[in-house]
């Protein structure tokens, strides 16, 4: 990889972009699968201490990536409890770390959205004989296109962070090197124009994803009302 814009033709760049997307999109997928039902349940379930849980969840949206990276590293290290899995310094470890980072975003934003919608739906659903978790999941599915915002927020956080993937991935050439760690590397090598160029590519990719998501939402709204 040498200079911008020549790198746009470089295979290596697109391999790195592909890996970045694989890691971040996987993390978003898992975080949503776990976090959305969690957020929905939290939105409708009233229990003692709920306020504390809600506030904590909101605060966890600001988890520092480097701290998450460190904790996951200690867990996955051979000297740590999950060392047997041999996951350290693999893309799998990066997915795990990013999933932890995005999970609070998924759950907290979903909780807010479901709680707002709940007021509209709750009574009607109860009248139809649907309550509790089943009702929450119905509402969750009904507002799915609004939840796209949560998904994009999570994707943004994952593709932008460098602290967690650097520590648990090791920035290994050809194996765990992603866009953000490459930019960090080129910056520390003093190749600022290249680093900046890569940054533009990264932002471009994220913009494209957001644009695609917007089109999907528009189409769906036309179809489902």
């Amino acid at each position: 990889m040498h200079n911008f814009p020549a790198i746009l033709l470089d295979d290596e760049l697109w391999r790195i972009v592909t890996l970045s997307l694989q890691v971040s999109l996987s993390a978003v997928g898992i975080a949503m699968a776990l976090g959305l039902p969690l957020g929905a349940a939290l939105a409708v379930w009233r229990f003692p201490g709920r306020d504390v849980v809600v506030v904590t969840l909101n605060a966890l949206m600001g988890l520092p990536p480097v701290v998450v990276g460190l904790v996951v590293y200690l867990l996955l290290s051979r000297a740590g409890p999950l060392g047997q899995l041999g996951l350290l310094f693999t893309p799998g470890a990066m997915v795990i770390a990013q999933t932890i980072l995005i999970l609070p975003i998924a759950a907290a934003l979903c909780r807010q959205a479901v709680e707002d919608a709940w007021r509209e739906y709750e009574e009607q659903l109860r009248s139809l004989g649907v309550e509790g978790l089943q009702a929450a999941l119905t509402v969750l599915w009904d507002i799915r296109f609004s939840l796209l915002t949560a998904v994009l927020a999570g994707l943004g956080r994952a593709s932008a962070e460098v602290g967690a993937v650097m520590i648990v991935g090791g920035n290994i050439d050809g194996v765990t090197r992603v866009m953000t760690t490459t930019i960090a590397l080129e910056t520390s090598k003093g190749d600022l124009p290249l680093a900046l160029g890569l940054g533009i590519v990264l932002i471009g990719v994220v913009l494209l994803l957001n644009g695609a998501a917007h089109l999907v939402k528009e189409a769906a709204q036309r179809r489902y009302g």
């Binding site: 509209e120 659903l125 139809l128 004989g129 649907v130 009904d142």
Partner: protein, 237 residues
């Protein structure tokens, strides 16, 4: 059979304010019952107490059947503003059927028949949220009917609709009534009460003030409040 419904000294107090004063009544199968009263009198609250959406502060709401699942299953309610899911009309009618455990192909058949009853069959595949107010309310009725409830509660179903849509809704309600479904409807619309009702429960400031058959109520109201209401002097409490 879950009717008759009995309310035993049922009251509701919310944040210190008594919305329904201790009230006892029995509602039997048969006549279409209108709960009549001014805005804020407590009609909607009373309906929700009967339907089980609210729990009384004191007293008991008792149906004939002791099984709570059957009791729930044999009632349906149509609200002033229906809430539709972001799905097709057909899917919306299928939703409560599915929740009640009705399997295919029965489910689709029943849902399609319900849409047919309310004249929306040609719009079965369209997104329900795109319907007009009148169409959504008809859809709500279809959704309620698909469950074949014994009792159908209606909370001011035409208050938000124009006269044409109102007529359509009223004719559907009449059809339900004719088919044997017990109608319990809250309204402040005198004409509607006369057109659709057989008996009237007149509510005023959270109390049941008068109960009579429709003709007697409108021609010879026994209470002063009912008289004032009929004359149009009590639109708001």
């Amino acid at each position: 059979m879950i009717l008759p419904l009995r309310l035993d000294e049922v009251s509701l107090t919310i944040q210190g304010r008594t919305v329904i004063h201790p009230l006892s009544l029995e509602i039997a199968a048969g006549p279409a019952t209108i709960i009549l009263g001014a805005n804020g009198a407590g009609k909607s609250v009373l309906m929700r107490l009967m339907h089980g959406l609210l729990s009384p502060t004191s007293g008991r709401v008792q149906w004939r059947d002791a099984d709570p699942d059957r009791v729930r299953r044999m009632q349906a309610m149509v609200f002033q503003r229906p809430v539709m899911l972001r799905r097709s009309a057909l899917a919306n009618v299928q939703y409560p059927l599915q929740a009640a455990g009705v399997a295919e192909p029965e489910r689709s058949r029943v849902a399609a028949a319900a849409l047919q009853e309310v004249g929306l069959h040609h719009l079965a595949g369209r997104p329900a949220r795109a319907f007009s107010g009148g169409e959504q309310q008809r859809l709500a009725l279809a959704r309620a009917w698909a469950l074949h409830p014994e009792v159908l509660f209606l909370d001011e179903p035409t208050a938000s609709l124009d006269p044409t849509a109102t007529r359509e809704i009223e004719s559907i309600i009449r059809a339900f009534d004719a088919s044997g479904t017990k109608i319990i409807m809250a309204t402040h619309n005198l004409g509607q009460a006369r057109r659709l009702g057989d008996e009237v429960l007149f509510i005023h400031q959270g109390r049941l003030v008068e109960r009579a058959l429709v003709d007697r109520f409108f021609n010879q109201p026994a209470s002063a409040e009912a008289a004032a209401f009929i004359k149009g002097e009590l639109p708001w409490v």
